[in-house]
Amino acid sequence: MIEHIDVSVVDWSRAQFALTAIYHWIFVPLTLGLSFIIAMMETIYVRTGMEEWKKLTKFWMTLFGINFAIGIATGIILEFEFGTNWSNYSWFVGDIFGAPLAIEGILAFFLESTFVAVMFFGWNKVSKKFHLISTWLVAIGANLSALWILVANAWMQNPVGMVFNPDTARNEMVNFWAILFNPVAVDKFLHTIFSGFLLASIFVLGVSAWFMLKNREEWLSKRSILIAAVFGLASSLMVAFTGDSSARTIAEVQPVKFAAFEAYYDGSKNAELVAFGILKNSDKQIGDKKVKDFVFRIGIPGFLSVMTKGDKDAYVPGLNQLVIEGSDKGEYLSISQKMERGREARNALIKYKRAKMLNDKVEADVLLNEYFRNKKFNEDYFRYFGYAFLKAPEDAIPNVSVSFYSFHLMVILGFLFIVVCALSLLMLVRGTLMNNRWFLRIILISVPLVYIASESGWVLAEMGRQPWIIQDLMPVNVAVSQISAGSVMATFILFAVLFTALLIAEVSIMVKQIKTGPKQ
């Protein structure tokens, strides 16, 4: 399939994409949520006509603008890195992946960029209602953008709605709706946008809490907290709900990833869900690969069985069963078995390509009917095509520690934010919030924590699916562009320096703007 792959190119390309995605995701969730919070505030201004609400809206809009620009800057790189750094992948999936990206551009980006200009510059140029509609359209546009890129990402986690075309050597879309309503896409979109709403709510709560601690901007802080706490509480509950649904879907379509983020090695009935745990180096092995084991953990017996199978006595396979042993009852294959099937699929493709190259039409037709037009071959063999490129079954195991900690950190912090939002609202209504300085400090500390939780979610999603760029079909080392490691290393350093410098500027401007407060 590929003539030569330099391992360090794969590592640098992964590092560069991770760097860009992590930086991008610092800014995007705030845009997703703050746009709606601003729209709500402006709606109140338009309905009541109170100038204080306009001032409040403009203050948060200024912070929105500072964050928005850098989100766009990091976003453009992500789109094009699919081509520059993952060109083999781009061709293999371009027929499917490109469509959501193009729709994103046509439907969402133009909506966002057109009306954001009206939102910033239109206060004295358009009517109040037109301005308000523009603000809402920015919020809708921003969230629509998220929909399409998440549909594309979900397809990488759970490829559906396509067939493999051996002539073009790529996957081709046959069912657009299956791709759009992929269960992973639905979960991922809802979980992601609600997490963005929550992050923005915590951000607004944090800034308002800071004003309260400084005994400044009381009117602004109370109104902002009221909106952010209600929006944040509703969003945090939805994050929990969609997170649960997302985990169940992952257990079904990416069981190895699921087992990794639970550090669940040996299958059992009445399987325990780890609520909290600490991993350390151990002698434990999955095949030939050493893995970290628990030095301490708090578990909930039976919960993992209930979560995955709906029955506390149900058997849930662990990494050992999924990777090495397989199922006695034939419920699932081991990775070795999948590798065998993947190799058969790959050999079939090579044979077909050779027949085509030699212009042997009879042989090509025979192979086409025997393999690629054969539904059973596609379901039983070709779906494991990517396993042909693994060297050992253990290669299919993602980094357990990273998966485990990112998942648990995200979940624990998620529950903390439910409490923070609920208590903020309760104390505000009771009129005790301004005097509770310890709680105001907790709100303030929650701001960096919500960013950590948000990034953890993506670390889990992307690191947890390794070694796959497309689940079961293409590992990352096959997807990478044929460029030198030195080139990618150079651009990695360039982007690392640039993004870091821009982040420093962004945070500095944001802090300065918050300290200045709303314009009189």
Binding site: I70, I77, W91, I106
Partner: protein, 376 residues
Amino acid sequence: MTTMITYLFLQHYWWMIISLLAGILVFLMFVQGGQSMIFSLPGNETQKTMIINTLGRKWEFTFTTLVTFGGAFFASFPLFYSTSFGGAYWVWITILFSFIIQAVAYEYRSRPGNVFGKRTFDIFLLINGALGPFLIGTAVATFYTGSQFRLDYMNHVYWINNWHGLEALLNGRNVALGLAVLFLARTNGLLFIINSIDDNDLLSKSIKKLISNSVAFLVFFLFFLVTLLLAEGFAVSMETGKIVMEKYKYLHNLIEVPWILIIFLIGVIGVLYGIGVTIIKNSRKGIWFAGSGTIMTVFSLFLIAGLSRTSFYPSTYDLSFSLTIQNASSSFFTLKSMMFVSFIIPFVAAYIWYAWKAINNKKITKEEMSEEGHVY
């Protein structure tokens, strides 16, 4: 309706959409053209602020069009996307780099606490303004001059030299188109500034600069055009279906399809009229003629690169690896699904026009720079 739609029709349809997006992108690069003059055009800080705020209210349209252009290419001709971006790595990365620094420069330049100072962000605007149009023009020129790559049986790209796209800068025709696009962007930038800013001093400065920039544009454009029309082109053989070199291929393409020739001529006349009417009659509406002309000219040049059995991304290493709209396109199903999505484009264009008009209904003045809440 769908039974009448053939795969070939869809491939042509999508190449036309790509060509149209390319035309709009080049027109919208008036933002970059204007940026490239922020140190040389204004006579004082207020004029500079007015220029930057005029351009700054439109930068996202250019940016979004570039992203959509890339997305549409990915969706409709993924083999081009994987081949060009994965192969000509350094050219595309440099272009992207220049757009990253643009995105933040407007918003951050005049903000207190921006760490690096206003001048740094202005230099970012200058870099994007000069490098963006030049490199995009140079990269697009390879559609006519070719690149050195090959593909394996899985369609994975291998670039034959280690320059990964930068070698395009060694070809005079590529550089000429790059410079033509840069000076066209500067010309359109000046016409837009003339149209949008109410300042007599800046107006006379802009008109003076317009003369030199439009002359430079014409020199490079004519050089590129003449060499293009007289050059050999990459044709798909009628007999064998293989890629062969054909004399005067692009001239043939232009003549064989009269409506493309008409659009091209109207486009060129539009650009010239827009420039002329501004210089001779001091009109402020030149941008609309030059802008429409730019879109039509680029649209038609893209059409002759991909239609009429032509390879739009030729391999000079081995012609057999050259990309055409047939061998590089998405599947019938994807192109058809995407066609339905594209029907929304007129609606998108309508709301962009409406919002643009609402914001641009008054020219930018010195007073507005001190009154307006959101000033770059």
